[in-house]
Symmetry: D2
Subunit: 339 residues, 4 copies
């Protein structure tokens, strides 16, 4: 095994992308390359205190900057682009969350259109303590505080969409994008179908942590220093983004209404399980029905996202993508030992 | 009043567009220009008989070709691009409808994902009799036939989307696109918010007629010879596409679930009504609630579309867009008299 | 033909029902009986002016009183209970509409739960002019008025539910109930599946008129003097309520999300059309797709309701329920001539 | 502390209930009573092997029998009925799962009405090994087997509904009912708002385990021997069912579309959290957004159910219902020690 390439990608402010698709790659890497990259937070770093209201300091459509795209040499439509998260480290000792006018799960929005005035726009600043592994919530009204576990992840990871589309980075879909699932943490491998030559991976929207559903519309948003291994499997591109960690196979679905996101994710997991275990469709449906988990990812974005999880303990000797996740784990471990 | 420009736009096969956004204009016109254009059907003309199954003869993403884009000189983001349909005439004496695997309202789809095999893919050929004003349905199983009124319209009319997005022409949204509403017939004026310089109007997907909801996923699809007047209002761009005919103000909303499409359309109509009549929000809400109509447009596309209609008889002397519809009607009448 | 029985049913205040199911019949009639009945408005008559806020003067669950139940002799589960509306006449010269806290299409509700405070609760009093055929809207803020066509109908018509259920009268479903469709006007025949012996028809919630969707949550609510013919077809009970008038077959569906209400109604209409015309399922699907109408009924109640309409001009000699609607029309005409 | 009453409730076949509401209590107990009860499976025990197709051996509406109702002395509308699950033990060494025509998440249903024929109806028999703590899945096609952890729970727990309604036991809602959440396991306390005198608790639908979402429509269904403590808190009845275990506060919401179930559950959890921690609404919204979990319960029943969970580690010294859960845990421990 030769040492993998290590590439660094740290965009200047005007190099950030705000869409998936429609952009030339910032860099092209060989399959197996380790990419050390930096990401800005979803506010473009403009919200730095409780007085910085996002609707005032941010400017549509310059929201949710992503780092990339990264082209993968040899990636062709129908292939599987794999990205393994080696490390996701907050680049600041603070993170931001906020409400935003007409955005979130418990508010009227532009599509769940109602006659209500927006809820109050309020900003929370979280202190991140990487040593302690916590992020501190501080109530804005009253003096309540609570330390929540730091659990860094990326809300937005995806590739260029199919059909010649260019989609805003805030939209999750079959191309990935703003899935906003806490499963996208270090130790996980994400799989995307390649839709255009090179695949054109981009990553952004770091969260120091988020709850399932991202109810208020934002997580604990922060800039990240992130290391990924980018790899390629010829063919086999999944219809919808998949993830794998040491314990679970995870299918995602992004759609509205939320039951369609659920259906997509479960449908994909049924197919994936059946294929790996040699089960027919109804047997796989049955097994997933009894053994699966189904947490919400986000219920606030332009599409909602559900995750469908199956314990890998059920797989016996079967391995997804021929054991790629384990190999990427090994690559990641070697990288972390030797850097 | 000077005579309006008349421009002809008849794309060659490789000039058709399959997206809104991401394309350079085929032509740039001055506000007030009459454009005589031709459109191909949603199958790109490849389905010509009952043996031509769309899933076999059509190739993704080359579906639903649109004619354009047409840039309007002086159109800037926030403006209102108006397009008045002078005439929509079937260019053939036949039209096609079909089911399509996993597409339609009464079938599992890729987002309402289920374990069912697709319904049968079946093609119907309609005979169009322009003199009689009918299109003839002919059952595929059995010998039942019925003549339905010819009611030509365009399923797909829109402009380049906001946010730097490029969307497939099969998607309806705030930019218009594949609204698939039978209200988009000759005599109607459609209003779109301009999102990019020039607006970039495109038109396609002619239907000899369609039912409300476009239940099976396709209408009576046919190529069209269509004449429009393209005009511009500075400012005032509506958040969602609007239409106006001699009898109704019509707001549209495109989203999932269907109640959100309904909410968007009603919310817009409440705002529009309130503005035109000087009513506060709740009074406008009340008036629309008692006087409005709410037909489905499509319940099959990637977003669903609802229309919200208010009789113009309620408007008294108030006129939308300062009477533009009436002026465009006059222009159309003059054109039809003199050609 | 013998003269039909004529029965009068005018409940005292404490005889009103607030549920479908769970009540003994007020009266039992033979099939073909004409019933002259009175109904109270959805507020129980307690809102009489703009100062009577429904949330203050009405008391849950004493909302939406219905007149009945009326048992039909011989009706057994699986049969079809037909009710033809001969006349629906406002019993007052005023009607009421209002917003209601957390109820309506453009507001957060108890199930579309959000953090917004309720919209303002506001009452409108409409003057009903039966001679002129109008109801007058009078804005609460400002001096705008408008005369809307009087178009009396019943929002709530149904039978006892299946499965031993008792449902509040505000809920629409397979048993009928609070369908809130403007199609339920004089001249229409409604068909319900009988679920319990006698069927147990009840009628209420008169509207001087309503817009499609009943957007704000209430129509122009008023007490009614209504005459119906109640009839029975052995067997053939439809899965969901159907209506028929002189021009249309109308299927209804009541569910959430709204696309499921749409699907139910279209699915039923496809089956009904196929059965009447001898078409296979796909041919009926196709015909309904091109010829059908799909107006919203209500998008505010505990289930939403859509109507699916097919022009009876397509039926040739076929007649629903063996021509029952025409016979009931004749009965109604005879009654109106001779009373 | 006096010893609690212990009551045994083991219905005869014709004593089972199939609705919430509309039934006289089988027994009345004092608050604090321990009830040892037995429940039949959702098939009424009629499916005993792979040849027993549910649609053939079961008869609507005699599905999903529940044990009860149990009246609680002194319970009045607005109170909180608490039920703590001491033990849930499979009463058989086998459990059943199956598909059912037009029921489940990945199939057309009666409300998500489509033109597809039903999926195959297939029965799976699981071997339950209480000693090993497993239930064995055995593929019907092929010889794959897998042991899944036994995790017994009740799918159906609830009280009589509000508004005079009687609802089939298969429906989840504000009264509880068929929530089908795996959180309803031994060690959990469920809280319901009392709607009628006595509250009228009923319990059924034991699952040896279920996946989140109950995708195929049924879990590993089995009869149970279950012990609960039934208690009462005067006042404070929650709008929607809540649960509490040693680690989490859990709010539930049951509605369609699924995002409304999500909204309800999150809305309730925001209110509950705010109340316990003295936070204003937006601060509670923020805390839940970052700290909460949101697993699907069921996405197959007549309403869908979501759970919203908050770690109790955030509560500091605050205790829900004044520490009732801890007291019931102590009662349960004493019972288990001494029986």
């Amino acid at each position: 095994m030769s040492l993998p390439d290590v590439v660094t990608l740290s965009p200047t402010p005007d190099e950030y992308a705000y869409t998936f698709g429609g952009r030339a790659p910032l860099v092209t890497v060989r399959p197996g390359t380790i990419v050390e990259l930096t990401t800005e937070d979803c506010f473009g770093g403009r919200v730095r205190g409780i007085g910085d209201l996002p609707s005032e300091v941010c400017e549509f459509p310059y929201l949710n900057p992503v780092t990339g795209p990264i082209a993968v040499a040899g990636a062709e439509p129908g292939d599987t682009l794999a990205v393994h998260f080696v490390e996701i480290a907050p680049a600041r000792d603070w993170g931001i969350s906020s409400t935003f006018p007409h955005f979130g799960a418990l508010t009227a929005t532009h599509s769940t259109a109602m006659l209500h005035a927006p809820l109050e726009e309020r900003v929370w600043v979280y202190e991140l303590d990487r040593a302690a592994g916590t992020c501190r919530f501080r109530a804005r009204a009253g003096d309540f505080t609570a330390d929540l576990p730091l659990d860094p992840m990326h809300g937005t990871v995806g590739v260029a969409p199919a059909g010649g589309e260019t989609l805003m980075s805030i939209t999750p879909g079959a191309h990935g994008g703003n899935l906003d699932t806490p499963e996208m943490r270090a130790g996980a491998t994400a799989y995307f179908r390649v839709n255009v030559p090179g695949g054109l991976l981009a990553v952004g929207d770091g969260h120091a942590r988020q709850g399932e559903g991202e109810v208020c519309g934002t997580a604990v948003e922060t800039a990240m220093r992130t290391t990924v291994v980018v790899d390629l499997v010829k063919g086999g591109g999944p219809a919808w983004p998949r993830l794998e960690d040491d314990r679970y196979l995870i299918s995602t679905g992004s759609a509205r209404p939320l039951e369609d996101a659920f259906r997509i994710s479960q449908h994909d997991l049924v197919g994936w399980t059946g294929e790996l275990l040699g089960l027919d469709t109804l047997d796989a449906y049955q097994l997933v029905s009894q053994a699966g988990l189904a947490p919400a990812a986000n219920v606030c974005d332009t599409n909602y996202t559900m995750a469908a999880k199956l314990p890998k303990s059920l797989l016996g000797r079967a391995r997804a993508y021929d054991g790629l996740h384990d190999r990427l784990r090994a690559t990641a471990a070697a990288y972390l030992r030797h850097r």
